[in-house]
C-alpha cells in the first residue's frame, strides 16, 4: 500500500517547551491512522502541523510525494481538517455554510452542487439545514462540520477528537460516517484519547506520550505484543 503521508523526525517547540519531540509515522492510502494518548501528549500539535496550521521546528513531512513544508497550497487542496473545538458561522444557515465551504474547493458550479448535496446527505439534518447554525445542538454542529470535512472526498481527512463532547448516539453516527468514507477512498488521520473508540475505528494506531511515539501497529498487533485485552492496557504497558 502506498503512503499518503510520511512523517519523519517531527519536532515542534514553543520557546523552551517541546510539544512534539521527534515522531515518525505514516498514513497509508485508504486507512484510518489514529494517534492516541492523554491530553498534552502532542496529538493536536501534530495534526495542526500536518494540516498546515503550524510549522514544524524540525523534521520532514512528505504528502503525496511532495514536500509538505514547501507546498502548503498544494496540501490544502487535498486535505480537510476538523479541529477539536471547531465552530461554524452562527449567523449562517447550515446549507449556506456548506455552500460557502464548498466554494473554496469546487472548480465548477456543478461540482459545488455535488459537494453540498453530499454534505447534506452526510449530516442527515434535512430541513434543519435551512435554519441558522446558531440554533444547532452540539451533535448537529459536529455532524455539519464533519460533513464539511468529507464532502470534497479529500485525499486525507485530519480529524481531531471527532466525537469529543458528543453523546453515545451522535458519537456512533460520527464513527459510522468516518468508516463509510474510508471505504470510498479517503484516508484518515485522527486523534483521540478515547481508546475504545480508536480500537473500533482505526486500522493502525500510534501511541503517543510527551511528544514521542511509544509504539505503532494495528490494534490486534499491539494487543498481542503487549499481551493486553484492550488498547488502554496496551498504553499502560508501553508507558512502563
Amino acid at each position: 500500500m502506498s503512503n499518503v503521508l510520511t512523517v519523519r523526525g517531527l519536532h515542534k517547540s514553543y520557546g523552551t517547551h517541546t510539544a512534539v519531540a521527534g515522531i515518525d509515522f505514516e498514513v497509508q492510502a485508504g486507512e484510518v491512522f489514529a494517534l492516541i494518548g492523554p491530553n498534552g501528549a502532542g496529538k493536536t500539535t501534530t495534526l495542526r502541523i500536518v494540516a498546515t496550521l503550524l510549522t514544524s521546528s524540525a523534521g520532514e513531512i512528505v504528502f503525496l510525494d511532495r514536500d509538505h513544508k514547501k507546498e502548503p497550497d498544494f496540501v490544502r487542496e487535498k486535505i480537510s481538517y476538523l479541529p477539536e473545538e471547531a465552530g461554524a458561522y452562527k449567523d449562517m444557515k447550515g446549507m449556506d455554510y456548506l455552500r460557502f465551504m464548498a466554494g473554496f474547493y469546487a472548480r465548477t458550479d456543478s461540482e459545488e452542487k455535488e459537494f453540498v448535496e453530499r454534505a447534506a446527505a452526510i449530516t442527515e439534518l434535512g430541513d434543519r439545514l435551512k435554519t441558522k447554525v446558531g440554533t444547532y445542538s452540539k451533535g448537529m454542529t459536529r455532524k455539519l462540520l464533519l460533513a464539511r470535512a468529507l464532502m470534497t472526498r479529500p485525499v486525507l481527512a485530519i480529524l481531531d477528537e471527532p466525537t469529543s463532547g458528543l453523546d453515545v448516539l451522535n458519537a456512533l453516527d460520527v464513527r459510522e460516517i468516518v468508516r463509510r468514507y474510508v471505504k470510498e477512498g479517503t484516508s484518515v488521520l485522527l486523534s483521540s484519547h478515547n481508546m475504545l473508540e480508536i480500537e473500533f475505528l482505526s486500522d493502525r494506531v500510534g501511541l503517543i506520550d510527551k511528544g514521542r511515539i511509544l509504539d505503532t501497529g494495528t490494534p490486534a498487533e499491539l494487543k498481542t505484543k503487549h499481551n493486553a485485552k484492550n488498547l488502554e492496557e496496551v498504553f499502560r504497558s508501553s508507558l512502563r
Binding site: 514553543y14 496550521l53 471547531a86 452562527k90 474547493y105
Partner: protein
C-alpha cells in the same frame, strides 16, 4: 478569484446586518431630529425675543433706548407702575428672557453726560449658549447707544472735528500675506475660516478609521471566538487573500457607515451652523480667501483624497494586526483604543498649536503618527509645501506596506494562532 469572491461575499454579509442598517437609519433620524430642534431654537433666539422693561425714568432718553431695542427685534412688555420686585416676579412668570430696569434719573444723567446705570436681569431657564443670547443683544444695543451719545457730545463740543478720529486717533489697515499674495483683511479671520474648513477632515478621518478598524478587528476576533479561524486557515485560499477580503469588506462597510454618519452629522450641524453664521461675513471671508489663493482646486482635492485613502489603508492594516492579538469580541473592543489615540493626538495638537513650530521631539512624534499627515495636507497645499505633502504620502505608503507585510507574515506563520496580548502581563507572549 472565485475563492476570493466567495470569502469577500461572506465577509460583507457578516458586516452588513439588519442591526447595522437599523442603527445607521436610527442615527440619521436622531441627528436630523436634533438638528431640526436646534434650528428651531436658534431661529427663536435670532427672531423676535420677548423682554420686560421697567422704565422708572420715563424720560426721552429712556424712551429712545426702548425704541432702539424694539428696532433690534425685541418685543417689549412694559412693566411700568410696578416696583422692581413686582416687575421681576411678573417678568419671571411670563416668557420674558430678561428684565431691563431703567432707573429714575437716567435721562438727566444722559443729558449731563454722566455715566448712567441700567440693570438687566437675565432669566436663565436653561444653560444653553443660545438661551443667553438676549443679554448679548441688549449689550450691543447699549454699546451702539453709547457710541451715538458720545459722538453727539463730541460733535456739539468740538464742531469740525470727526468724533471717530478723536476717539481712535490710530487706525490700522490689516493685510494678510500668503506666499506671494497680499490682501486686506484680518489674519484672525483667515485662521478661523481655515480651521472651520479643515475641521471636517479630522472628523471624517476619525469616523472612518474607527468604524473600519473596529470592523476588521472584530472580523478577526469573531473568527477566533467562533472557532472558525483554524478551519478557514486550512482551506485552499491564499492567506493574503484572507487579509485582503477582510480589509476590503471592512473598509467598504466602514466608508459607507462613515458616509452615512457624516450625512447625519451634516444634518445636525447644518441646523446650527447655517443659521448662526452671518451670510455677509461668510461672503467677505470667502472673497478674502480667494484673493489669497487659499482655495482648493481639483488637484488639491485629489491630493487630500489620496492622503485620506492612505490613512484608511494604514488603519485597516494596523487593525488587522490588532485583531490577531484579540482573543475574542470583547477584547477586540479594547484594541480600538490605541488607534483612537493615534487619530486624536494630532487632532488636538493641531487645534491648539502650530505643528511647524512645536519642539523637535513633539514634531517627530506627530510626524511619526501616520494619521497626522492628512491633517497637514490642506495647510501644506495652501502654503505650496508640496515636498512635505509628498513626504507625508510616501511615509504613509511605506507604513502601510510594512504593516501589510507584517500582517501577511502573521497570517502565514504560527503567530496567527499563538500571538496574544495578555493584559496585565509585561509583554506580548508567544505561547
Amino acid at each position: 478569484m472565485k475563492r476570493f469572491k466567495n470569502l469577500l461575499q461572506k465577509e460583507l454579509k457578516e458586516l452588513v446586518t439588519k442591526q447595522l442598517i437599523i442603527s445607521l437609519a436610527f442615527t440619521v433620524l436622531i441627528f436630523n431630529m436634533v438638528g431640526q430642534v436646534s434650528k428651531k431654537e436658534i431661529q427663536k433666539a435670532i427672531g423676535i425675543q420677548t423682554i420686560s422693561a421697567l422704565d422708572q425714568d420715563g424720560s426721552a432718553g429712556s424712551q429712545a433706548l426702548l425704541k432702539s431695542l424694539e428696532s433690534a427685534r425685541f418685543k417689549i412688555i412694559d412693566q411700568s407702575g410696578k416696583n422692581k420686585d413686582e416687575a421681576l416676579a411678573a417678568a419671571k412668570a411670563g416668557d420674558s428672557k430678561l428684565l431691563l430696569v431703567i432707573p429714575a434719573g437716567f435721562g438727566d444723567s444722559l443729558a449731563e453726560l454722566r455715566p448712567s446705570e441700567i440693570e438687566t436681569y437675565s432669566f436663565m431657564r436653561s444653560f444653553s449658549l443660545i438661551g443667553a443670547r438676549g443679554q448679548v443683544v441688549v449689550q450691543s444695543v447699549i454699546s451702539a447707544l453709547n457710541e451715538a451719545l458720545s459722538n453727539n457730545f463730541l460733535a456739539e463740543k468740538l464742531p469740525g472735528i470727526d468724533p471717530a478720529g478723536l476717539k481712535r486717533p490710530i487706525k490700522s489697515r490689516d493685510f494678510v500675506v500668503v506666499r506671494d499674495r497680499t490682501a486686506e483683511g484680518s489674519a484672525n479671520m483667515i485662521a478661523g475660516m481655515l480651521s472651520q474648513q479643515s475641521m471636517l477632515i479630522p472628523i471624517v478621518l476619525m469616523m472612518i478609521v474607527i468604524y473600519s478598524s473596529q470592523m476588521v478587528i472584530s472580523a478577526v476576533a469573531m473568527e477566533k471566538q467562533n472557532k472558525t479561524l483554524e478551519t478557514l486557515l486550512t482551506v485552499p485560499i491564499k492567506r493574503t487573500s484572507i487579509i485582503t477580503a477582510k480589509m476590503f469588506a471592512a473598509g467598504f462597510v466602514g466608508l459607507i457607515s462613515a458616509g452615512v454618519y457624516m450625512f447625519a452629522f451634516k444634518g445636525f450641524i447644518g441646523g446650527i451652523g447655517d443659521e448662526a453664521a452671518s451670510a455677509g461675513a461668510k461672503a467677505g471671508g470667502a472673497a478674502l480667501m480667494a484673493k489669497l489663493g487659499l482655495t482648493f482646486d481639483t488637484t488639491g482635492y485629489i491630493i487630500l483624497g489620496i492622503s485620506l485613502f492612505l490613512a484608511i489603508l494604514v488603519a485597516l492594516a494596523m487593525a488587522m494586526i490588532l485583531g490577531v492579538l484579540a482573543e475574542d469580541f470583547r477584547s477586540a473592543q479594547t484594541m480600538i483604543m490605541p488607534m483612537m489615540f493615534m487619530v486624536m493626538i494630532p487632532y488636538f495638537i493641531s487645534l491648539f498649536a502650530d505643528i511647524n513650530t512645536v519642539s523637535l521631539p513633539v514634531k517627530i512624534l506627530i510626524m511619526a503618527i501616520p494619521f497626522s499627515h492628512p491633517f497637514l495636507v490642506s495647510q501644506n497645499i495652501y502654503l505650496g509645501n508640496y515636498g512635505m505633502i509628498a513626504a507625508g504620502l510616501g511615509y504613509m505608503l511605506v507604513v502601510f506596506v510594512i504593516l501589510v507585510i507584517y500582517a501577511a507574515r502573521i497570517f502565514s506563520t504560527d503567530k496567527i494562532l499563538t500571538m496574544k496580548l495578555r493584559f496585565g502581563k509585561k509583554k506580548t507572549q508567544t505561547v
